[in-house]
Structures are given as structure tokens and as C-alpha cells.
Symmetry: C2
Subunit: 217 residues, 2 copies
């Protein structure tokens, strides 16, 4: 069972700790703010009120024995950097840290942080993509010519079966799953499945296919 430390329980750190616990990891959560610690205490394995710059406190919390530690201290860049160095000095192999800006991120990388996270920026990029292509909800590149896209079914798909639409041959699109507007999901749909009003499609396609689809919308 993986032991993961989370230092700093702002919005980002809180949800990292909570999700890790839901996924079955053993979570040690640390924050200097007692209220933040109390808020998460029920959800994690151990929760400590401590200043992360206090090495003795981190030791007692068992942070140095974690398989990975997430440092999610935001406004105090100096504290974030010092904590990362303390963790590396004590042999913590995998450190993930949130950065407040690019230079902070570069410092963290040079200090051996395995993954520097820019939470607001990463979500902002996805939101921007979904706003520019009508009906595009999300996208993940997989390989050149192959990305996964979630998109709202265009009006001219509605009422037709997948066989009638013949998407793979005509547009190079493979429909992986269909989600109805009530949220019901059909995985690996067959040729007889019909697209309904409000459906969302999870498709594997290249940018070229998406462009051709965009031209038809």
C-alpha cells in the first residue's frame, strides 16, 4: 500500500489528500493551520498540525518514510522551497510540488521535484480548448493522428445509427463510448446504436478528422 505525504492543505492539497485516500493509499496530511487539519482528519490515515519547516515534527509524522510527498504550500514560496529541500535531504525519493509561477517551478525542478504542478494553468488550458471548438468538452493526445475527444453529438448526427453515419470510413472517427444526456454510458457501441439528442461521444480521432467534422458543423 503506497504511503503518500501531503504538506499544505489548501484547495489543491486538500483534494490531493482526499482523492489519494479514496484510491486506497495511506495518506499523511500536514498543515500548520489546525482547522485545515481537522477538516481532513476523518478522510486520511494520519493528520498532523505542524509547521513543515520543523524537521522533528515531519519526522514524528512519518513523512520521511513516505513513498512520495506532495508539497502544496502556495503563497509562501520560500517555505515551499525549504520544505522540498528538507524532504530531499531526508531521502524522500518522489516529490511533487505545486508552483505559483514559472520561476518558482524552475527552482523546484532544479531541486529534483519529479513533477511540478501548475493547477490553475493546467485546468485553464483545458477550459480554453473546450471554448474554441464548439461542442468539444475535452481532449487528450495519445499519438500523432490519434487523440481522445469528448464532444457533444452535432445536430446532424442525431437520429442516425453509427452504421448509417459510417464515421470510421467517412471521417476517420472511432466512437469509443456514447453518454446520454442523463449520464448513461454505452461502451463499445455497435453499428445499430442510434445517436440521440443530448448525447456526448467519446471518440478516437486525429486532428484532421476533428477539423473535417468542424467543417460539417
Amino acid at each position: 500500500k503506497r504511503i503518500i505525504g501531503v504538506i499544505g492543505l489548501g484547495r489543491f492539497g486538500f483534494f490531493v489528500a482526499k482523492t489519494l485516500a479514496e484510491l486506497g493509499a495511506e495518506v499523511i496530511a500536514v498543515d500548520k493551520d489546525e482547522q485545515k487539519v481537522r477538516q481532513i482528519a476523518e478522510l486520511v490515515t494520519y493528520a498532523y498540525v505542524a509547521d513543515a519547516l520543523d524537521e522533528k515534527a515531519l519526522e514524528e509524522a512519518g513523512i520521511f518514510n513516505a513513498d512520495a510527498v506532495v508539497v502544496s504550500i502556495g503563497q509562501n514560496v520560500e517555505a515551499s522551497i525549504f520544505v522540498v529541500v528538507i524532504l530531499r535531504e531526508h531521502g524522500v525519493k518522489e516529490v511533487v510540488a505545486k508552483a505559483v509561477n514559472e520561476i518558482h517551478g524552475k527552482v523546484l525542478e532544479r531541486l529534483g521535484v519529479k513533477r511540478v504542478v501548475y493547477p490553475e494553468r493546467e485546468t485553464a488550458v483545458k477550459v480554453a480548448h473546450s471554448l474554441v471548438v464548439r461542442g468539444l468538452v475535452s481532449e487528450v493526445p495519445f499519438a500523432p493522428g490519434y487523440s481522445i475527444f469528448e464532444l457533444k453529438a452535432p445536430p446532424f448526427f442525431v437520429g442516425k445509427t453509427l452504421r448509417e453515419l459510417d464515421l470510421r470510413r467517412r471521417l476517420g472517427i472511432t466512437v469509443v463510448a456514447i453518454k446520454s444526456k442523463e449520464g448513461k454510458v454505452k461502451v463499445n457501441p455497435s453499428g445499430d446504436d442510434e445517436i440521440r439528442e443530448g448525447d456526448s461521444l467519446l471518440v478516437l480521432a486525429g486532428e484532421e478528422s476533428l477539423k473535417r467534422l468542424g467543417e460539417q458543423t
Copy 2:
């Protein structure tokens, strides 16, 4: 060309505006903080210093003619809510808004916000997943219980066929595509396809499956 308004240029709003401009959209950026406006002025079509509660200023900025508006005002929840209502009153069809917590998000949904964003939480969930499942490269949530994940084939998959691994029945995982380490992609693989060293798998799975996979890795 899509016209998108961005109100509030904190870290999230700044990167939404910047990315939208890079994707070719026409961007109108508004913030009451002059320094934030100056920081983005070069990157967007129009940048205005204005209090978003000032309807006249929003009108002059052209915000009410936008195809979509992103409201990314953080700490001042009241302002965020009032701005959303002002936009809806003036007929802005598509409003995306960042929420600071769940109740704020519920209010925004009830006010007709098309997509409520929790930037720190959305990134936190991805980071947590990548810590629990070794080799998880990326993920796209599709519906409760169904996300698309790209992951490096775990060592214990290598040399086995999909039929032998029996992933759908044993782990609730549907393999959508396999990418070899040379980048060659096989879509909708069959039961006879074998997993090779260095393969990446594109799979449809739920959190539960990811948890079980994490336990085995």
C-alpha cells in the same frame, strides 16, 4: 472567429485568456487590477481595467457581445455571483465560471453557468491518480465510473494477450487502443493481441478499476 470574454485575471483567468488568444480566438480581458491588465494586454485583443460590477464598463468593453464569457474572480464570491447574473441579464449565452467551493458551484449552476470549474480540484484528482497508478500518463473523465486513461503497460501485463489478461471482467478495464514504443497504434485491439514491452494502453475505466490496478502495481 469566436469572441470570448475573460473577467478576472488571477492565475486561472490569465492562462485561460492567454491560451484562448494562442488558439486564435478574439479575447476581451477585464480586471479591476491595472497591473494584471497590463500583464496581459500584449497577448489579447482588448484588455480593460474595470470593476466587473460596473455594467456600463462591461458594455463599453464589448463583453455582452461575446460568444462566451469566463468569470474567474476568486476570493470575492459575492462579486463572482453578481457578475454571472449581470452577464445572464444581458443575454450572454455561454458562461463558464470558476468556483471556490461546492456551494458556490451549486449557486453558479442554478444561475445557468454552463460549466463550473474547480481548477485546483480538477488538477488534484489527476495528480492523485498519477501517484497511485504507476505509469499513468494522462486521463480524461467522461462520466462517473468512466474515464479514459493512458498508462504504460505494467510489467505483469507484458507477454500476455488481452484474452489472457481478461481485463474487462477482472479489473473493469476496456482497452481502447495499444501504442507500441515505436508509436504504432492499434485501435480496438482483439483478444489475440499481445502486450509488448514499452506498450502504452489507452483504456476506459472507473476509479474503482484504477484502485484495483494500483493495488496490483
